[in-house]
Structure formats: structure tokens, C-alpha cells
């Protein structure tokens, strides 16, 4: 059963302390340290009147979760993804697992465990960031405000957190595809990094000038897909009173889903047909 395979994968990952720490816990801790550093700078070096500016908690939360899927988080989550998806080739342990669970369940368990811990990473980054802002604000006597209505706040928070999560899953999908195709942990890290560089260059080479007309760029280039998917889902205004075209938003959402399917689906398709005579 899939639940059994997930439980086994979770046990193994959490006992692999080095990978678990660097892949999923380091970035939240780094974000915490950076936020504390920022607050200390403000506390010591800014004039009292600037320190005491009101803090918009809604804005702080949305920003924190929106930035949680950034480049550093992606880079380090690749460590976790690479070990998850290439570990059984490296340790030659597929032969222990394949008689116990179907290949589909074994692969999906890895996807589920990566999704689970990358979500925890996102949540930790956001919660710790806001926690520091809250404590720092109390020390400095900031007035706490909440600049969004409940519905709008919930929509924006969910949208940015979801897209940040999707960005980590996209990285995980590329690692899964590279790991199954090459059976190598290093390749499972380096191929996604190379792909990100290429996709970043493509994003800058083919900027979106007119969101409605350039929907195909949004669909094909993951960076655009995530940006426009986020804007569309969050309902954020690009200009006063103006949100992005539905065609651009939907292209963003389809693009995100398609890129996730390419990574994980491609990895699964290879794995289902793969000879494991020598892992």
C-alpha cells in the first residue's frame, strides 16, 4: 500500500540526519537567523521614530510565504530530493524494496515525502519569519496593523504559499527525473541546477510584454508560469484596479501543473520500465 511505502520512506529520510537537516531544515533556520539579524540592525542602528513604524502583519505573512520558494530554498531542497530519488540506486536498495511494494507506490511515496517535507520547509520559513517580526515589533514597540481583509488575506496567503510550494515541487520533479534517468545523486542535483540556469536565461530572453498575448511564454517558461500563476491565484492588482488577464493566469496554472507532471511523471515512467539489474 502507498501509506506503508510513505511511512517507510519517511522513517528512512528522518534517520538520514545530514540530508534531512540540509535539505529541509537549514533554510528555515537561515531565514530565522537573517530575520533576527535584520531586527537587531533595526533595533541598534535605526532612529527610534523609524523603528517604531507600524508593522503590517498581513503584508509580512504574505511576503514571508511568497519568498519561501526562493533560489536558496530550491537549491538546498535539491539535496533532499536528490537523496530521496537517487538514494536507492546509490545504496543498491531497490532490490530490497521492489518485492515488498509496487514500483508505482515506491515512486509515489518518494514524491509524497518530498512534498510533505518541502511544505514543512515553506511553513517553517513563513512562521519563523513572522514570529521574529512579532517579537521584534513588541520589543521595539511597533504598532501591529493588519492591512488586508480576512478573505483577501486568506486568498493571498494561500496563493503565495501554494506557488512557493509548487516551486519546490518543480525542483523536486526535475531531481526525480534526473535521478531515475541517470541513477546518480550528483546528476540529480546538477541537472536541475543547469536547467534552472537555462530556464532563467529563457525567462529573461523572452519577457512577457503583453500578458494576454504572450500566454504561450507563460505556459512554456516555468518562471513566468509561477509569477503569473501566483498573481492570478492571489488576485493581486498589477496596476490600481487591474488584475492580470484570465488567459495569462490560466496559462500560469497550467504551466505549473505541466512542469510538475513532466518532472515526476517522467521519472515515474522511466522507473516503471527500468531494469534494476545493477542499481
Amino acid at each position: 500500500m502507498l501509506a506503508d511505502a510513505i511511512a517507510a520512506e519517511n522513517l528512512r529520510l528522518t534517520r538520514n540526519r545530514t540530508t534531512f537537516f540540509w535539505g529541509f531544515l537549514f533554510i528555515p533556520l537561515l531565514a530565522l537567523v537573517a530575520e533576527i539579524g535584520g531586527r537587531l540592525f533595526m533595533h541598534h542602528d535605526l532612529p527610534a521614530e523609524l523603528r517604531a513604524l507600524p508593522v503590517d502583519m498581513a503584508d509580512q505573512l504574505v511576503k514571508a510565504f511568497g519568498e519561501a520558494g526562493g533560489a536558496m530554498t530550491i537549491l538546498l531542497s535539491l539535496i533532499g530530493a536528490a537523496v530521496l530519488f537517487a538514494g536507492d540506486y546509490r545504496w543498491e536498495t531497490w532490490r530490497l524494496l521492489t518485492p515488498r511494494a509496487s514500483r508505482t507506490n515506491l515512486f509515489l511515496a518518494k514524491v509524497a515525502v518530498f512534498a510533505q517535507w518541502s511544505l514543512v520547509t515553506i511553513l517553517l520559513i513563513g512562521v519563523l519569519d513572522v514570529g521574529v517580526a512579532l517579537v521584534g515589533g513588541m520589543i521595539d514597540g511597533n504598532r501591529l496593523t493588519f492591512g488586508l481583509g480576512a478573505g483577501e488575506f486568506a486568498r493571498q496567503l494561500l496563493a503565495v504559499a501554494l506557488v512557493s510550494w509548487a516551486q519546490l515541487l518543480f525542483a523536486g520533479g526535475l531531481a526525480a527525473l534526473a535521478a531515475t534517468a541517470t541513477r546518480s545523486t550528483i546528476a540529480a542535483i546538477m541537472i536541475p541546477i543547469g536547467s534552472f540556469i537555462g530556464l532563467f536565461l529563457a525567462q529573461n530572453r523572452y519577457p512577457v510584454q503583453d500578458a494576454a498575448a504572450d500566454w504561450w511564454k507563460i505556459l512554456l517558461i516555468p518562471g513566468h508560469a509561477f509569477d503569473y500563476g501566483r498573481l492570478f491565484l492571489a488576485g493581486i492588482e498589477t496596476l490600481p484596479g487591474q488584475t492580470i488577464a484570465a488567459s495569462a493566469g490560466l496559462a500560469g496554472i497550467f504551466g505549473m501543473v505541466a512542469w510538475l507532471l513532466i518532472g515526476f511523471g517522467g521519472g515515474l515512467a522511466i522507473f516503471l520500465r527500468q531494469d534494476l539489474s545493477k542499481e
Binding site: M1, D4, A5, A7, A8, L11, R12, R15, N16, R17, T18, G87, W91, E92, T93, W94, R95, L96, L97, T98, P99, R100, A101, S102, R103, D275, L276, S277
Partner: protein, 297 residues
């Protein structure tokens, strides 16, 4: 006779090389079944197909009546088992019991660790284990969940003599007391003869012989003189009736009383004899006869 494993015209090709070549075999339920063969005979390929690790090029294989690759309660150990190095021996069994969906794992894990002699090493990480300890843990992993059948590839490889004896006793007790069907591949012909009820001898991906150990040994006839010579085919022809050329030796059926005269005659005719020894009526004799004298290793 109910088959627990079978193949029908099974072929596995790696490019031009055929690891298995139209193999048809039925492994009966119960007892210890040995699969023998020289290097490259196709033993590991056959086991890997049964376990769903690789797919055949053509032909069929069945495992407990179904297709390979469908999860079943089969214990297995293929070659020297490897484990995630950061797990302890107990951790390995906990991990695999979760993967198998076992419910009462803790008590069973303790019992298995004791059965394979790893109780004291249960909390040690496997990265520090010797080959023999890996082997013992591999057997414990294969026995998790009390499977009705275990497939073991070289279960005593890397073990010291005491360990080999313990493993031999364990395998026999699995079949006799726990009623587990054990299918094993081994290069140790004496070991196979001691613990197996039936054997299949593979050679170049095909079935060279199959049957009960006693029948095969009985069919091999009495003692034979094995002469290690440089040109077996020519020497066999020179000796004439009762001589059979192997890859690097000649097997001669004759009485012990006639042996000195034969050796003197060959020496007179300028034949270089590097070694002469009696091959008993045992599995080794059967093996050499069926594989053309290739080394089991």
C-alpha cells in the same frame, strides 16, 4: 507437485549476450531448491526476473502463480545485500517492515536479529558491518513477515566457517520447521549437496540438469579420475572409451586398480599431467559433467 516458481521458454538478452536462453523450469513448493551454475550461467538474472527487478526479453515467468513484479510475501536476498549506511541493523528491519506493511514488527525484529546472531549489533549502524554481518542482516530482512518463500542468492558468501554452519542450519530449519520454501543459488557445491532437496544446474542460460540431489548423484555413476591436462580433447581421444573431455581436464571412468597403468601410459606418450584426482559420486561430479567442467566460481 505444486510449483512455487516457474519459467517457460524464458530469455533475457543483453545485446548479443543471452543471459537466459529459452529456460523452462519449475520449482516445487516446499524444501530447499538449489540453482547451480558457473559464472554467467544466468542464476542471478533468473532470480532478478522472479523478483521483478528486470524484465525478460521473451518468455514467461511466474511467482506463486502470478507475474513477477507484483508485491507478494516473498523474502529475498540478491548477492551481498546493501543497506542505507546511516541506519542501524534494527533500523533497517524497521524500515523494511514498514515498507512491507507489517503490523507486529518490533517483536519479530528482535526474534530475527537473535536468529541470525545480530542481537548485540542491533543498535550499530550498518556502515561499520562486515560482509558477513551484511549477509546475516540480509537474511533477517528476507525473513521479515514470515514469507512462505525466500529466494537467497549466495547466502553464505563472505561468512566465516562458523557463520556458514549457522546459516546452513538456519536454511534447513526454515524448510523443515517453518515450512518455508527456500530457493537458493550457491557456488558452494558441497554446501548445496548438504542442504538442498532438489537442484537445477544452469549452463549458458539453459537448463543442463534438474532433479533431486540423490537422483542426480546416482545418475552420475561411480568415481572418476580427473586429469588436468593441456589438451583435453586430444587426450580423451587418446584414452578412448570411458574418457570425457572437459574445458581444462579429462574425466575417465575406470577402477582405482587401473589408474596407475593409465597414468604411466600417458606419461610414456609425452602427456603433461598437471593434476590427477578422484572425483567422487557427488554434486561436483554432476556439475562438472553437466557444465563441461567449468569452475563453479
Amino acid at each position: 507437485m505444486t510449483s512455487i516458481l516457474s519459467t517457460s521458454n524464458l530469455t533475457k538478452a543483453y545485446g548479443a549476450v543471452r543471459a537466459l536462453d529459452g529456460l523452462t523450469l519449475e520449482v516445487p513448493e516446499g524444501g530447499v531448491y538449489g540453482v547451480l551454475g558457473p559464472n554467467g550461467a544466468g542464476k542471478s538474472t533468473l532470480f532478478r526476473i522472479w523478483l521483478g527487478l528486470i524484465r525478460p526479453t521473451s518468455g514467461d515467468a511466474t511467482v506463486m502463480g502470478g507475474a513477477p513484479g507484483t508485491p507478494r510475501r516473498i523474502g529475498s536476498m540478491i548477492e551481498t545485500p546493501r543497506f542505507p549506511p546511516f541506519l542501524t541493523a534494527r533500523g533497517v528491519l524497521e524500515w523494511l517492515s514498514l515498507a512491507s506493511g507489517l503490523k507486529d514488527a518490533p517483536a519479530e525484529i528482535d526474534a530475527l536479529l537473535e536468529r541470525v546472531g545480530l542481537t548485540e549489533a542491533a543498535g550499530r549502524k550498518v556502515r561499520g558491518f562486515s560482509v558477513g554481518m551484511h549477509q546475516r542482516l540480509g537474511v533477517a530482512a528476507a525473513l521479515l513477515g514470515r514469507p512462505p518463500m525466500v529466494i537467497l542468492d549466495e547466502p553464505t558468501s563472505g561468512m566465516d566457517p562458523n557463520g556458514i554452519n549457522e546459516m546452513r542450519a538456519l536454511i534447513r530449519s526454515l524448510a523443515d520447521q517453518d515450512e518455508v520454501s527456500v530457493v537458493l543459488a550457491s557456488h558452494q557445491l558441497a554446501e548445496v549437496q548438504k542442504i538442498c532437496d532438489r537442484v537445477a544446474i544452469l549452463n549458458r542460460g539453459t537448463l543442463a540438469a534438474e532433479g533431486s540431489v540423490s537422483d542426480l548423484i546416482g545418475g552420475a555413476g561411480g568415481e572418476r579420475l580427473r586429469l588436468h591436462v593441456s589438451d583435453p580433447a586430444r587426450i580423451a581421444a587418446l584414452i578412448g572409451a570411458g574418457a570425457e573431455a572437459l574445458a581444462d581436464a579429462v574425466l575417465v571412468r575406470l577402477t582405482r586398480a587401473d589408474a596407475p597403468a593409465l597414468i604411466r601410459r600417458l606419461a610414456t606418450e609425452g602427456v603433461d599431467i598437471f593434476e590427477a584426482r578422484w572425483v567422487g559420486a557427488d554434486l561436483e561430479a554432476v556439475f562438472m559433467q553437466e557444465t563441461g567442467g567449468q569452475d563453479a566460481r
